[in-house]
Subunit: 690 residues, 2 copies
Amino acid sequence: MGGTTLHQSGDGYQAWLGFHRIAPGELYDQYAVYNRITVTEKDDIVRTAISELSRGIASILGNEPEVAESGVGVPCIAIGTFGSNPIVDRTFGNDTRSAVGPEGFAIKSDKDNRCIAIGASSGSGILYGVFHLLRLMSTGATIDKLDLVENPVNMLRMINQWDNIDGSIERGYAGKSIFYANNRITGDLERVRDYARLLASSGINAISINNVNVHKYESMLLTQEYLPDVAKFAAIFRSYGIKLFLSINYASPLEIGGLSTADPLDPAVREWWRGKAAEVYAAIPDFGGFLVKADSENRPGPFTYDRDHADGSNMLAEALKPYGGIVIWRCFVYNCKQDWRDRTTDRARAAYDHFKLLDGRFMDNVILQVKNGPMDFQVREPVSPLIGAMEATNQMIEFQITQEYTGQQRHLCYLIPQWKEVLDFETYAKGEGSSIKRIVDGSLYGNRFSGFAAVSNIGNDANWTGHLLAQANLYGYGRLAWNPELAAEGIAEEWIRQTFGGNEKLVRTILGMLMESWSIYESYTAPLGVGWMVNPDHHYGPNVDGYEYSKWGTYHFADCYGIGVDRTQASGTGYAAQYRGANYDRYESVESCPDELLLFFHHVPYAHVLHSGKTVIQHIYDTHFEGAERAEQLKAKWDSLTGSMDEGLHKQVASRLAEQAEHAKEWRDMINTYFYRKSGIADQLGRKIY
Amino acid sequence: MGGTTLHQSGDGYQAWLGFHRIAPGELYDQYAVYNRITVTEKDDIVRTAISELSRGIASILGNEPEVAESGVGVPCIAIGTFGSNPIVDRTFGNDTRSAVGPEGFAIKSDKDNRCIAIGASSGSGILYGVFHLLRLMSTGATIDKLDLVENPVNMLRMINQWDNIDGSIERGYAGKSIFYANNRITGDLERVRDYARLLASSGINAISINNVNVHKYESMLLTQEYLPDVAKFAAIFRSYGIKLFLSINYASPLEIGGLSTADPLDPAVREWWRGKAAEVYAAIPDFGGFLVKADSENRPGPFTYDRDHADGSNMLAEALKPYGGIVIWRCFVYNCKQDWRDRTTDRARAAYDHFKLLDGRFMDNVILQVKNGPMDFQVREPVSPLIGAMEATNQMIEFQITQEYTGQQRHLCYLIPQWKEVLDFETYAKGEGSSIKRIVDGSLYGNRFSGFAAVSNIGNDANWTGHLLAQANLYGYGRLAWNPELAAEGIAEEWIRQTFGGNEKLVRTILGMLMESWSIYESYTAPLGVGWMVNPDHHYGPNVDGYEYSKWGTYHFADCYGIGVDRTQASGTGYAAQYRGANYDRYESVESCPDELLLFFHHVPYAHVLHSGKTVIQHIYDTHFEGAERAEQLKAKWDSLTGSMDEGLHKQVASRLAEQAEHAKEWRDMINTYFYRKSGIADQLGRKIY
C-alpha cells in the first residue's frame, strides 16, 4: 500500500508537475524531514526555483516548507550558486564545482541526511537542480545519500512554436495558440508562464515564439508595435532560464522596412538589419536570435537575389553578433514545384545538395537546423545525411513533437524511441563513433553552437497536447535534449509516475502502451519506409495516391508489378551516395537495405522477399491487419486501468484510443484494398480485403 | 462589307447586350426607319421595356429613338398590352391575341414596313417581345415582314444563386457575390439591375437569391432585419418580370423562431411558418416562394422528426398557399456518410428511392426539383430516372450552369448540347413521346407548376462569368428554358453575334469551338461515364482515386483487371431497373449499353471491346491524348481570331484557353499514368505515358 496516492484534477492541465501527495510511510518520512529551504540569493531564476521547490514539496507533503536565509543545524534543502550559501559551499568541493558547467548542478545529501544541498554556477543550474530533486520525489525515488552532478549535454535545447498571430497553429492539434489571438498577444500570460514551467522542468532553455512561416502580422513582431509585447513573453521565459527567439521574414526590409530589396549583400539592407537588431536588443537585452525559413516552400530568401544561404544567413549573423545573438537557419529547402513526371529530381537529396558545398562559409554564430530525416517527419525515414556532412559548420537537429504525420495526437505515438534511433545512428562522418548525437551536441567537430530544436505539440486545450499521453513526447523531448543517453523507457516511466502516480500495474501498462505505440502506428500506415500515403494538406488519414501526382516530390511509384523509389547510385536518383561508408553500401544494395527502409531506397516487385521472409505484399497485408488489431489492444489495455486513476484523465484517453482503433481499421482497409486491387495478389491468409 | 461592326469595351461586362453599332448599308436603312416608339402604358415592366428598347436602338443606330404616346402615320415601333395601344390593337386580330399566353408576345410589321407592333397580355410579354426584336436587330436579322407569336414553353424559368451572405459563392468561379458582402446586401444595386437585364433578355422569370445551403445569417433573410433588403432586390427583379424566391433553412423555427422543434406536424411550427409567410408577403407581395434543400448533405429536414419529404414540404406549402407562393423542394437526398466498403448502397438510386413512393402526397403548390442526373452534374451521367416517375407530382429539372465539374470556367465547356441530350431523352414514362422536356414543361402529366432551374455561373468578375465564353451557358440556359426546341448551334450563334458582332469567320470559328468543347472536356477527364476522378472538395483537376475511398458514394472500383460500377439488376445495385422499358434493357445489358455510359452501369475488364471497336484501356489512352491535343487546337483557333474583335476580349479568353491546354495535359498524363500503372497494358501507339 506504499507509494504515492492519486490526486488529479482530471483535465491534465498540471501535466507532469501535478506532484501527487505522498501517502504516509517510509518515503513520506524520508521526504518530510526537508521542510525548510535555505537560500540567500534574490536573482530572478533563483526566486523561480524557490517558488517551484516550495510548491512541489507543499503538494507532495501537504505542508508548505519554510524559506529562510540560513538553516545551519536543522534539516533543510540549501540552494545557491557557488559562493552564495554557506551550506552549499560547505557541501561541494572544488572538484565538484569545476565539474558543474554553466547550466549544470550538483546535489548532495550530508552524511546524516539532515541537509540536501543544490549547488550550481548559475540560477538556471539551480532551477534545473530543483526540478531534478522534485522529479526524484515525485517518482517515488529515495533521496538519501544523494551525490550527483548533472550537466546538459546539448547547449541549445529549443522549442519551436509554429503559432500564428491570428491564434491558429500550423500543424497544431491541441487547440489554438496560448500566445496569440486576433493578431495580438494573448491576455492570459499565466498560461504562458505555466508553459514555461513545463519546459524548464524538462530541461528546455530556448524557444522561438512564432511560426517559421512568417506572414504579414508576424513580420511586425520586430516592430515597436509588437516589441513591448514580445518583451513580456521574454520576461516570463527568462525567469525560467529560457531564451526567447523570433522567427523572421527574410523579406522584412521590404515588408516592414520600406526598402525596395532584401538582397543580403546590399549595404542598405545590412544596415537595416543592424538597426533592427539594436532595436530588438534594446527591448530584450538577452534576446536569443532569429530562426529563419528562407527559400523554402514559397518563403522569400537570398535566392531571389542570386545569393546563397551563406550570404543570406551571414548578413543576419553580422547584425546579431555584437549582442551575442545567433541565427538558426533551417535547411528544409527543396523544389516544391516539382513535376511528378520528372523522376530525376529527388526531394530527399535537396538539403544535402543545397548546403553541403557551403561548408565553411557560415559565420560562427550561424547554426544550420536540419530535420531528422531528408523528407519531412514521416513515421519512418532514414536519418538526414546532411547531419555531420559539414565539419566546419554549426548544426542542430530538428524533431517534430507535434504529430503531423504520426497521428495528430488522435493516435498514440510515443516518439522518443524514434528520436533515439536517429541520435544513435552512426554516420561515419569522422569514422566510427560519429553518431548523430555527437554531431548535434557539438563534440564531434567542436562546434561553438549546437543542439536540439523541435516543433511543439501544445495548444490551449486544457491538457496542453490534445491527447494526454502526447505530453510524454513534450516531456521526453526536453529530457532527451538534456541527455541523449537517457533510455526511452526510463523517460516514459518518469513521465508516467509524475503524471499518474506510482501504481505499479498502471506504470507497467502505460509504459508498455507507449513503447509499442510507434511500431503500431507504423504498421497500419505507409509500409516499409515509403511514407506519404496521407491526405494532402492536412496530412491526416490514409490516401495512398494522395501525394503521388503532386508537385511536392513525394512519390511511391506503385504499379501493378511493384512499388518503391529507386534512390540508388547505380540506377536511381543517387541519394544513397550521400551516405558514407557502410551506410552507403547498406542502403545501395537491395539485399542489405533494412526492411523498414526498403521502399525508401528501392523499387521492388510485390513478390520481393524481405529479410523477414515475407513478400512485400504479404508484409503489407500482415502489418496492416496486425496494426489495427494492436490498436484495439491499446484500447483494451487502457480500459483495464479503469479505477486506477482519476476518472477524467481515464475518459479523455479512452476516447482517443477508441477513435484510433476505428481509424486504424480505415487505414488497414484502405491500404490493403489499394494494394490488393493494384497487385491482384491475394492475402495468403484469406482475410477480408475490400 | 455589310453587317455590324465591332464595338466592345474589352471587359465583357455588356455581355450579349452590347448592341454593336450597325454599319451603313441595307440593314442600317431597314432598322433606321424605326426611330420612334409609341406606348401609352406606365406600368413598371413596360417602362423597363421602353428603356431597354430605346437603349438598344440608340446603341445599334447611334440615335436615341423618340418615345411618344401615339405615332399613327409615322414609322414607329408600337408596344403595348392588348387594349392599350391603337396601333397594337389595329395590328393583331383575335386569333393572335388568344394565341399569346400570359408571358408571350406577338410581333408584326405592317404591310408597308412603316410600323412594327409588339403586343402582349402582360408587361412581361412586352419586355420579352422587346428583347426579341432587339435580338433580331443585334444578330443582323431582317425585320421586315415580321409576323410571329412566341410563348415560353416552361412556366418557371428559374436561376438559383448559390451566394452566401458573407460574399462567397458556393461553387462560384467568377469572383465574389454581386448580392452580398460582409453579411449585408451589397451597396451596388446597379450591378444587380444589370444582372436582371441579362436574365430577362434571355427569358428568365424567377430567381432564388441565396445558397440552398442556408447557414446562420442567411436564415435571417426571413427576419425583419433583412426583409427590407430582400424587398429591394425583389423590386429590381420585379421591374424585369422576375419573381424572387428565398432558399430557407428547414430549422428556421429553432434558429430564428425560438421554438424547440422544427417538426412539420407540430402545430406551433405550422403556425410559425404561417406567420413567417405573412411577414414575407407583407414585405414582398409578389414573393415567389421557398427553395428547400432538406435532409441532404448534413442540412436539417423532416427526417429529424421521423417525418417524410411530403410532410416536410406540404407544411411550407400550406403556409404559402394563401399568397399563391410555391415550395420548390430539392430531391438531392442521399446518404453522404456511406462506407466505401459497402457495395450495396448506391447513391445513384437515392433520389428515386426516396421520392418515388411519395407520388401523390404533395400539395399542388409543391414542385420537386430534380437534378438532371442521378449523381451530381458530372460531365456525363445518365438522365435521372426520377424525372417522369411521379405522375401526380409537380417536377422541375435542375441544371448547373456554374461549371463545378466541367472545368470551373477555366476550361471551355458549352453545356447546351449536354442539356439538349437530357431534354430530348425518351423516358417512356407514358409510353413513346415521353421526353424529359415534355415532363418538365408540365405537358405530359398536365402539372400545375413545372419548369427549369439552374445554378448560376456569375460573380462580380467584370465579365460576369470569369471565362467570357461561359456567358454562352447563362444565355443559352435562359433561351432553352424559354424553348427547349431551340438548337444548341442556333443559341450559340445568337450569342456569338450579339457578343462579338457578325464577322462570319469569327462566328464560324467560335461556334465550332463551343460546339466541340463538351466533347473535348469529356475526352480528357473521367472516361466512359464513370465520373468523379477529381480532387475532393474543390472538384478541380484530376485525381483518379480522389473520391474512391470516401464517404460520398462515388466510386469507380478500378483494379488491375478492370473498372466500372455494376448497377445492373442482375448482379449489381439494381439502379438500371429504375428506368422503364427499352431504357432498362439498354442499360442493363453490357452489349447494348452506350459506350459513353458503359462504366456507369457495368464493371468490365480493360480489354472489353467497345462499340467503337476499341478496348476500354485503348479508349482511355486515345481519348486522353486526343483531348489534350484538341484543347491545344482550341487555343490555336482562338489565336486565329486576333484582330477580329476587341483586343481586351481576345486576350482574356486566350489566357483561359492557354491554361486549359496546359491543364488538359495534366489530366491526360495523370489519367493515362494511373491506368497504365494499374493495368500494365501498354498503349498500342507507344505514346509517352509516365
